[in-house]
Amino acid sequence: MKNAVCLKEKGMRNKNSGKLVEMPGKTGRVHCEKKRKNLSNWLFLAPCLLTLALCAGWPLLKTIYFSFTDAALDSLNDFQFIGIDNFINLARDQDWWIAVKNTFVITVVAVPLETILGMIIALILHRNFKGRGWMRAIVLVPWTIPTIVSARMWAWMLNDVYGIVNELIIRVGIVDSPIPWIADNTLSIVSIILVDVWKTTPYMALLLLAGLQSLPQDCFEAAEVDSIPFHKILMKIILPLMKPTIIVAMIFRGLETFKIFDLVYILSSGNSATATMSVFARKHLVDYADVGFGSAAATALLFFIAFLSIFYISFNRKKLNKLS
């Protein structure tokens, strides 16, 4: 019986070009249709939401929970609640603060560099020239190469004795003696930034290119007709219009860089002077089997990220609102 009512409703909805119209006296039926549709929506969503709950929600809550305990890797079921001791120890741990500093330095230096270089590449790819397709494919190559492969490739190129980078800069005459790119702690951070910029600039360029292409193109044409020099077009038209895209892309990249793990793991081989927050957390969690303390470090990183995320999400929400 209920079904029949719903079917009847369906017919009516079709006539009204898919939109439900609330009619006086018929609210009950509309309600029935709405409810059924709502249920089917959630049925469609269920597998996805269950997956997210199982592999993101539960582990996340569990990690935060572990950070208040003294759990060890081999006794995950047998632990004691020790309050905020882990966090106090974390705040007293010098290596942690070094890791925090390293993460900040890498993010603050790498992200603006990526943005500037990415913008240059995006502007080039936005122009219409012969071989643009090739250029786009070439620019994508660093992004394609798995991070571990890039890290090992660069470790080989930056090798202090046999590396091609040292060889080339000596040959050109920039320096006299080989530079210990990876052995030296400060230079190691420089190398990490260098490789990160190399690897992620393409992605940045693509994000910015998408932004460029969604700008009203007649602006450029008008400016070109008026023969306004390019640097003026860039400063007065492109950059102001691109500001929201640039900010979102920078926050997005900042979030990613904050979590940096792979590159640091390979390029600094476990040295605590060059570790980042992720490396620090994993080292304590897995290598030292101290799940409680490691989880506390991971939770602290989560807090930093959450701060940035709120910015990121609120920016995206504006876009979402515009869309719907």
Partner: protein, 284 residues
């Protein structure tokens, strides 16, 4: 008059040359590391230390060794299996979920999208210990299933956003025509949308595949034996007899083998990948 025209031509020439120069510099910067890896991979023994920029003589020694290495082949197979499984599962889950998110307005819709966006920002270490416990409970430690399960946290939110964006771009008229013909929701999704979404599915599936193929942190933590490792992990742990004797020739050969399939895929699907990458994030 002629002079002015010449000057204009000259200026244009300089401009074009400068533009080409910049393009060349960028291309060299992007390609050189991979080029150098390829060149190094063809140098055997002590030749590896040569700093000649051009390949002097070709030796397949390194590739021979890599192909004879059972552990490496095993990890190659593991990576392929895990990445394929992850891509398929992700697509299956996200296709269904993206449909109501893209085509219907209902309470909670925005919240679901926001949660997915929030999950993309989660650092992997923040779920590490919880995931470790989950994997122990499910008794899948050191197995492919553990990796597939953990990779879903990376691939699902991103795919959901991208898929929703793609699905939103399908004209409403198509859906309405199907409703007129008496199709229900499932039929609309499976018989009408799925064929239209073919290219989008290829794109998002490929991106999920690449993400799973490249993942390192989970693979390093949730596998223990050589038989279970994926390519990035075995590459990272590839080392010689002693610490000072890193077999760079072998590493470079293995790196090239791992990267080549990806480079080929990306060059072929370049346009699609770019649209997928940007649809998922900034374009919103």
């Amino acid at each position: 008059m002629i002079k002015a025209e010449n000057k204009w031509k000259y200026k244009r020439l300089v401009k074009n040359a400068a533009f080409a120069g910049i393009c060349l510099v960028i291309a060299v910067c992007c390609l050189f590391p991979f080029y150098w890896a390829v060149v190094s991979s063809f140098r055997d023994g002590a030749n590896i230390f040569s700093t000649d920029l051009w390949p002097t003589h070709l030796s397949f020694e390194n590739y021979n060794t890599v192909f004879k290495d059972k552990t490496f082949l095993c990890s190659f197979w593991n990576s392929a299996a895990v990445a394929t499984m992850t891509a398929f599962l992700t697509l299956a889950v996200c296709l269904f979920a993206a449909y109501p998110l893209a085509r219907h307005r209902f309470p909670g819709r925005k919240r679901v999208l926001m949660i997915a966006l929030g999950v993309t920002t989660l650092p992997q270490v923040a779920v590490l210990s919880g995931m470790f416990e989950l994997i122990r409970v499910l008794d899948i430690y050191n197995e492919k299933a553990a990796l597939v399960l953990s990779y879903m946290i990376i691939t699902v939110p991103f795919t959901l956003w991208t898929m929703t964006n793609f699905m939103r771009s399908i004209p409403k008229e198509i859906e309405e025509a199907a409703i007129m013909d008496g199709a229900n929701q499932r039929t609309i999704l499976m018989k009408v949308f799925l064929p239209i979404l073919g290219p989008a599915i290829v794109t998002t599936g490929l991106l999920a595949f690449i993400a799973a193929w490249n993942e390192f942190l989970f693979a390093l933590t949730f596998t223990l034996t050589n038989q279970a490792r994926t390519v990035p992990v075995s590459l990272a742990l590839f080392s010689g007899a002693s610490q000072h004797e890193v077999p760079y020739g072998l590493i470079m050969a293995a790196s090239v083998l791992v990267t080549l399939p990806l480079v080929v895929l990306v060059v072929i699907f370049q346009r699609r990948i770019i649209s997928g990458l940007t649809a998922g994030s900034v374009k919103g």
